[in-house]
């Protein structure tokens, strides 16, 4: 009985959840969290003055873990380089600006994750604008 109570208390107080990284080290075009880039002569190119928005994207990223976050079921580093390059290409753009990350908590998943064999998920939404110079690519 005492062991069962101790186990129950441990499970109730146990922490779970997880973490992951969002990176894009190999994309060729600029991918910016701000709305400013450098021009060739280091002059600022701003949205919307010098840069026009030609597309917008939103993507959901999920990280699955087990055993209280000890065992990642997917790689913790989420490299979005290829995805960003694809968005730029699809929208005929030159860069990405205004990249925004919104983390979401998943209380139900975390509560179930107290049981180590049940996988837990961490979520984040990644959004941004595809831009190009106002003079570039104009018909």
């Amino acid at each position: 009985m005492r062991s069962a109570l101790a186990l129950a208390a441990t499970l109730l107080l146990a922490g779970c959840g997880g973490n992951f990284q969002i990176i894009a080290p190999t994309v060729r075009e600029p991918v910016a969290a701000s709305n400013v880039l450098f021009g060739p002569d280091l002059q600022p190119l701003r949205v919307p003055e010098e840069l026009e928005v030609v597309g917008h994207f939103t993507r959901s990223e999920r990280q699955w873990n087990m055993f209280w976050n000890i065992l990642p079921l997917t790689p913790r580093a989420h490299d979005l380089s290829d995805y960003f390059s694809e968005q730029i290409r699809l929208n005929n753009g030159e860069a990405i600006t205004g990249l925004t990350v919104t983390a979401h908590t998943t209380i139900l998943s975390n509560m179930l994750g107290i049981v180590p064999l049940i996988p837990t998920v961490v979520r984040a939404e990644v959004s941004g604008d595809v831009v190009r110079r106002r003079s570039a690519g104009a018909p």
Partner: protein, 110 residues
């Protein structure tokens, strides 16, 4: 959680190594420090109460790291998303890391 945005910062903050649009001129790049910022929310009471604390050092620290200098940028930015839960405590946050670099005309370098 509210979106973590660095949009108001008036300088390039990029995830890769390239803050230039178009082929850049002849510039030398030097390291000028590192950047770290956080945007997080915490709650206690099993997650049933509203947010109790909120910090958003992401924009403040970026502005400080850039120091208002028009020749600075933050490169190699990465986001670390964390979601933690225990019975009486919930934490959700985004931490950002990057390198601060400074550009100068190559001829001006020693």
């Amino acid at each position: 959680m509210e979106p973590t945005t660095l949009a108001p910062i008036d300088a390039p903050i990029v995830l890769n190594d390239n803050p230039f649009l178009g082929a850049p001129g002849d510039f030398a790049r030097s390291a000028a420090g590192t950047y770290k910022g956080q945007h997080s929310e915490e709650a206690s009471g099993g997650g049933y109460v509203t947010t109790q604390t909120k910090t958003h050092s992401a924009q403040i620290n970026a502005a400080q790291a850039l120091g208002g200098q028009p020749d600075r940028a933050i490169v190699h930015l990465n986001y670390d998303v964390t979601d933690l839960y225990a019975l009486f405590y919930v934490f959700i946050g985004t931490e950002m890391h990057g390198d601060v670099v400074e550009y100068a005309p190559a001829a001006a370098q020693p």
